[in-house]
């Protein structure tokens, strides 16, 4: 077992021993389930209306259910993922195990990678459980799988970005609550940048500001558009956040 694997195994064990993952997971699945139900009922009501007017109706589940659901999940992830990441470094510093980690013969990049991978795996398993919903819908209706799959790709990339911001925030402080709020704050700022970009209009600056926000990149994927530009955005911002975390952890020893 390599050191990174050892860290992943240890972090997963810590996650599943504490109640946090169960509570967060239950709330996440409950809200996603409720939203999916609401959008479906809404779509059903629309279908009935159309039937009355036109006599027949072709329901588009992709537009009425999945796009709405993927849009809402951005916000759920923004609230929930910082709760998962907040303990990663803050707890180590609080409990004085930070010194132990940094005096172990492993690199800081291995520590950061191990911690990120562990929480990423937790996130993937939660996201995997929401996959039951499209699978069940597929039994009773007909819809286009392609945008659903790219939407999930978008969720995975968006989640990875959120988690890396959370890792960075956790490295900054020894207080878990502060870490959670810092990451929520950073993510909201990233979110609102798209609004600022729209305000600046179709100028170079406006486009640059919009590009910095995850909103348009995620929207493309939800609409079924896989563009290299968006993939580059997610992967490079993920790398940047993890690199910054590395620097913050490294600099924590100097104080």
């Amino acid at each position: 077992m390599t050191p990174v694997q050892a860290i992943i195994a240890k972090e997963l064990r810590s996650y599943f021993v504490s109640p946090v993952v169960y509570v967060v997971g239950a709330v996440f699945l409950l809200i996603v389930g409720l939203l999916a139900y609401l959008y479906l009922v809404f779509a059903g009501a629309q279908a009935i209306q159309l039937m009355q007017v036109q006599g027949s109706a072709q329901l588009n589940l992709n537009d009425l259910v999945f796009r709405n659901l993927f849009a809402s999940m951005r916000f759920i992830l923004l609230i929930i993922l910082p709760i998962l990441t907040m303990r990663l470094f803050a707890e180590e510093r609080k409990l004085r195990t930070f010194e132990f980690l940094l005096t172990s013969p492993i690199g800081i990049n291995e520590i950061v990678a191990g911690k990120f991978m562990s929480v990423f795996l937790v996130f993937l398993s939660l996201l995997g459980l929401t996959g039951l919903m499209p699978l069940m819908l597929a039994l009773f209706s007909d819809f286009d799988w392609y945008p659903v799959l790219t939407g999930y790709l978008g969720l995975v990339l968006l989640g990875a970005l959120f988690l890396s911001v959370g890792v960075l925030a956790s490295a900054l402080t020894e207080n878990q609550i502060v870490a959670a709020f810092v990451s929520i704050g950073l993510l909201l700022v990233l979110w609102l940048l798209s609004g600022l970009g729209a305000l600046l209009g179709d100028t170079v600056l406006g486009q640059a500001v919009s590009y910095l926000s995850f909103m348009e990149h995620y929207d493309h994927l939800v609409r079924g558009l896989v563009d290299t530009k968006d993939l580059v955005y997610f992967l490079s911002s993920l790398a940047l956040m993890l690199f910054l975390s590395h620097r913050v952890v490294d600099s924590a020893r100097w104080k």
């Binding site: 077992m1 050191p3 810590s14 409990l95 010194e99 172990s104 492993i106 020893r253 104080k255």
Partner: protein, 326 residues
């Protein structure tokens, strides 16, 4: 094995360590003594490559702490002030994690864990969560962690804190057994501990080394004369002058009229036999006769007190604030 040359560490304006130099030979046990905030933990953190020194060179097993930290870390077992344990893991799981971080695996890992569990008496708690263990057990788990990969160098920050007296003796025995094959640096507040397990003592105060020697030599060096305390049941009027007449006695002090005398004698001469003979033949009723040797406590206080503003030379000594938690 350990070589420290002119190490200085500054936190902003505050100087925590001021040009410290010392070395530890292979198989030697060195104690770090000093009041709180003297710089003991800072020195240890520099040696374990947790933080870099502002100036100076620290070398461990021939590797520079600043240039080759990985090589240094591989060869050191470190127990910080607070045992670095994860409460949500059991003792065995924790040691497995530690071993994997240090590149142990398979049979070697299992054997190492078994060895440390036996050595530190953790057998009965090995399947329990560390969060549910008492302070003493956590400290022992911390020690097991430091010893797990059998490093040639051990750095222990107050290893016996939180242990009960029986455990303290066991841990001291353990450290004594490590001497010879391992180089050990330990910091402590408890002076008899330094005397009991260490070949050499470094007394550090206000970020500077104020003394470095064996425990015996340190107390000898600071002793200007031999002192003897004497208690008599029925001292006579001429007792004072007759005691002073004993050859080798330089001064006699009486404390009140209770029959307690303090004799100051020439360095290196034991006058106890002669004093006893005089007392018995004169029928003074000898109750007690003992040599007063300076304990490490006295030495320690004498060397460090001016830093704390307790001694008479406070006015001339530079009293530094040591507010930094070190």
């Amino acid at each position: 094995m350990i070589e420290v040359q002119q190490i200085t560490k500054r936190y902003g304006q505050h100087t925590a360590l001021d040009r410290i130099s010392f070395s530890v030979a292979k198989g030697e046990v060195l104690a770090f003594l000093g009041p709180n905030g003297a710089g003991k933990t800072t020195t240890m953190r520099i040696l374990t490559c947790f933080m870099p020194a502002t100036e100076g060179i620290a070398r461990v097993a021939g590797f520079d702490c600043a240039d080759q930290p990985m090589e240094v870390k591989r060869r050191i077992g470190y127990l910080p002030e607070t045992p670095p344990v994860y409460q949500e893991l059991t003792v065995t799981e924790y040691l497995q994690f530690v071993g994997r971080l240090r590149g142990l695996s398979g049979k070697v890992l299992t054997a190492s864990i078994q060895r440390e569990i036996e050595r530190l008496g953790l057998g009965t708690v090995q399947r329990r969560l560390i969060g549910n263990l008492s302070r003493g057990y956590r400290q022992r788990v911390g020690l097991a962690q430091a010893l797990l990969h059998d490093p040639p160098i051990l750095i222990l920050d107050e290893p016996t804190v939180g242990l009960d007296p029986k455990q303290i003796i066991e841990i001291r025995e353990l450290i004594k057994n490590l001497a010879g094959t391992h180089s050990v640096i330990l910091s402590t507040h408890i002076l008899p501990e330094a005397t009991a397990v260490c070949q050499r003592v470094v007394i550090i105060s206000g970020g500077r080394i104020v003394a470095e020697d064996t425990p015996e030599q340190l107390s000898a060096r600071l002793r200007q004369s031999e002192k003897i305390s004497l208690i008599l049941k029925a001292p006579a009027a001429d007792t004072h002058s007759r005691l002073k007449a004993v050859s080798g006695v330089q001064n006699v002090f009486t404390s009140g009229d209770s029959g307690t005398f303090l004799l100051e004698c020439e360095l290196g001469r034991d006058v106890r036999e002669e004093v006893a003979r005089v007392a018995v033949t004169s029928g003074w009723g000898l109750l007690e006769l003992k040599a007063i040797s300076m304990t490490l406590e006295d030495v320690f206080l004498q060397l460090t007190r001016h830093e704390e503003g307790l001694g008479p030379d406070t006015a001339t000594a530079s009293v530094e604030s040591t507010g930094q938690p070190v």
